[in-house]
Amino acid sequence: VKRTAWWLIVGSLGLFVLGDIVYDTLVVGFGHDTGYPYADIIYLIAYPCFAAGLYGVSVAQFRRDAAIDGAIVAASVSAVIWHWVVTPVIESSSGAPMERVVTVLYPVMDIVLMIAIVHAVFTLTRWRPSVWLLLCGLAMMLVGDTVYVQLVADGTPNSVAGIDALWPVSYLLLACAAVHPSMRDLWQGADVGPAQYSRARMAMLGAALFAAPAVVIIDNGDSTPAAALAILTGVAAILVAWRIARLVADANRSREVISESEARFRALVQYATDIVSVIAYGGEITYASPAIVDILGCPPDAVVGTNAYDLVHPDDIAAVDKALDELLMNPTQPVTFEMRVRNVDNTYRWIQATCTNQLDEPSVAGHRRQLPRCRRAQAHGRVQHQRDARARDAARGPTAPAHVPRAAPGARGLRRPRPRGHPAGGGGHQHVPHHGGALGARRARARDRPPLPGGDGALRDRPPRRAHRDQRHRHRRAADSARARPQHGLITVWSLRVVSPDDERLIALLDVYLGEDRNPDAAQRSVLERTRDLIALTVDRAAQTHRLGYMALHDNLTGLPNRALVIDRLHHALARLGDRHTTVAVLFIDLDRFKVVNDGLGHDTGDELLVEVGKRLTATVRRQDTVARLGGDEFVVVCEDLADESLAEELAARAAEALSEPFTLTRARCR
């Protein structure tokens, strides 16, 4: 398009030259009074071609505000030209009607050309030499046309010496614009964003507003009322333009400040030696700083768009989940933890990660204006991975456990909701790892994703784990709940941590969702706190009941079933015998000379020996067998589903063999 536009400009230049030759041939060579109609036809074709070419060159940078500004200026100039040029020409022209029309068409074509020029100027990205040459040539052509038409209207076309020289000079300037190498870059480049309103541009717009009153003042200088009205109108126009100019200046200043700040922070992130990454809702990595090349060996583009869990070692996923849950439960507290992440060669590297919740930052969580209110319940996270110390890599080895800090105590109580960021957990259930909910749901799909460039896909084949599967189901429920809440207009959540009365351990989250954005009043706060306390007591009582029941049926020293439980299981085993072709065996085991150990080495050593005996017996028998301690040094093993008695004898022999090995205790070695 642009090259075609330039050919249009060159073609129109050729038409102007051709028109001059035809005109001179007719007037000078053949003695005609004018060049009508042949030269005029050529000229009138050249004008729209030139305007179209100029518009085509700048159309790539078309902006509506520039077009409106161009229309303002063009309208004012057109008014002036119409009043001082076209009207006198119409009034003074004589000859055939078509000849008068042709005469009037010249200033009209100048107006068309003027509109194209103004649009081109307002869409310019850079003032290059070619632009100056082009605009100077056009200006000279318009001046020559306007002056000549005015002289023709006055009946003195030859009264101004040198007027003929304006056109060849304008042709040369236009040719120079086409020859200059900078013509390649005119009206070219990326989107320059909103229009930059410079002082010159505002002055031009203000002058355009004042054009019509100026015409009235000049033409009616002897009429006081008309001149006064024109002056007042002009003053008002100038004041309006001034006011707009100040607003525009403020906007430009603010834009510059924001741009500088953005550039500064971008540079900080881009050149940081730590990896800075942004993890969005669902666990997707939306940004990674270039430092990832130095640390993990892969470019940022390779990880952006992938799931963050793809990079985490399978054994560290639970720790990451726990850390992110803490982050969401305490949004104001950064969470630091360590984990292993995958390098580009599929080896793992220990890093220390510091996660901060940036849910209140629209620039991180998304543009606030573009976020519907329902998105408030979704979770975003920003993770800053700090670079690890290389020495620590060597010291810790690949299997060292990750350290996951616990939630800070005393962080309980009402937490003013984080509406946009509050987690996706459903109301009414237990502790929901809100943030991890979405992450967990995505993690299942993430396993099927390809590895990083250069990897062999080892992560894809890791076996599913029950704990993670259960967590995924919980996370899916949380995510489904998060998606459903906005549909009901629930935009705010009041969240309370329910902790154990005994040890301040977090046991649940109480979330109350509502459709208005406000804090709870005193009464509501009281109800919420009482509800939280009741939940804590109920959960704690259930836990205590469970613990008492366990203690009633188990030996508190070895943890094995006690006499009551083993008798109960024996009854059940005997009751089931009628339905099966199997038998039940009961092995009674007691330790010889156990009293010697107790008396000689102390009861602590005796207890330690009993615990070890229980462990060996449990390790010896089958999964369905029950090992119990009746009391003192007496143990019993209930063996179910035995095909015959020989199997019972084999189990007894294995137990005796296991116990025949010496016991290495803290204070002694027994056998």
């Binding site: 400009i9 001179d24 000078v28 060849p168 042709y171 040369l172 086409a178 390649r184």
Partner: protein
């Protein structure tokens, strides 16, 4: 480009100052127009991408 513009301007000024006949002025100015057109064609061809 600049020598071309300057040279043409000097030529036009000399022609006008000498106040030649209409024929001479027409010939000179039309020749300049043809030169400008030719230069523009060459420039667009050379600068195209």
């Amino acid at each position: 480009v600049l020598p071309l513009v300057l040279g043409s301007g000097v030529l036009i000024a000399l022609v006008n100052l000498a106040d030649p006949s209409d024929i001479a002025r027409s010939i000179v100015f039309n020749l300049l127009g043809v030169v400008a057109f030719g230069a523009a064609v060459i420039g667009v061809r050379r600068n195209r991408r």
